[in-house]
Symmetry: C2
Subunit: 108 residues, 2 copies
DNA sequence: GATGCACATGTAGAGAGTCTACCTATAGCG
DNA sequence: CGCTATAGGTAGACTCTCTACATGTGCATC
């Protein structure tokens, strides 16, 4: 998910605040099970996003377990919009380059 | 272009052998000018791909200038096919997760 | 004839991001 | 008592890409 993880996390949090573990599960669910990110990838990303002001986190205890719940900040919402625009641009560029060349003699 | 550069380079070379500078120009052309990769990104990538056996390179001199021309190997063609499959999978996963959630009460 | 741009290739080092592997702790079930 | 699911985290390695620098030719312009 090189470089696109931030957008995916922000996108999941657009539905409402969630804690880290739930974010991982939501990513799995939304991707139809294809996305099984290790905690060692997601937790540092969440802290990074919080440091960057795109998320705000707060501790709570639910059922005897500590949770850190993250909420999208206004900056986070803007960042999400930017990420979506970036993805749109990025994917169309990759498609354009990666698309197999039409065979010689065949008009595009 | 994190992680996708290799596929883009291989894709350009599918048209036929090219030297590094021409690869950079072809990437620009195919992307409609959006992709302006610095030489410090492309040249190391080419050497990496050659070391990995996906490209074979050979020197020649054209108009007093040294060129290293790269050709797709059989392994390179297989790698390209794999990259295209990866991209397809990857992009559909990102789309699925990044797509804005439908507003509550509105059926999907 | 000097200057600058397009052509052409490369290296060094920094920085970012993701992964593997590890660690801790609780709740609940068998 | 041990296992699994839940919940959070760190350390270190690794890979890739970027910036900046270095080198040199051919050709057009001043």
């Amino acid at each position: 998910m090189r470089g696109h993880l931030d957008g995916l996390i922000l996108s999941v949090l657009e539905d409402g605040p969630r804690h880290g573990y739930a974010i991982i599960e939501a990513l799995q669910a939304r991707s139809g099970g294809a996305l099984d990110l290790p905690t060692g990838t997601v937790y540092p990303a969440l802290r990074r996003l919080e440091r960057a002001g795109r998320l705000s986190g707060s501790w709570s205890t639910v059922g005897g377990r500590e949770r850190r719940t993250y909420t999208l900040t206004r900056a986070g919402r803007h960042a999400l919009a930017a990420q979506r625009a970036d993805w749109s641009e990025f994917s169309s560029v990759v498609e354009a380059v990666l698309r197999p060349p039409r065979p010689a003699g065949e008009p595009s």
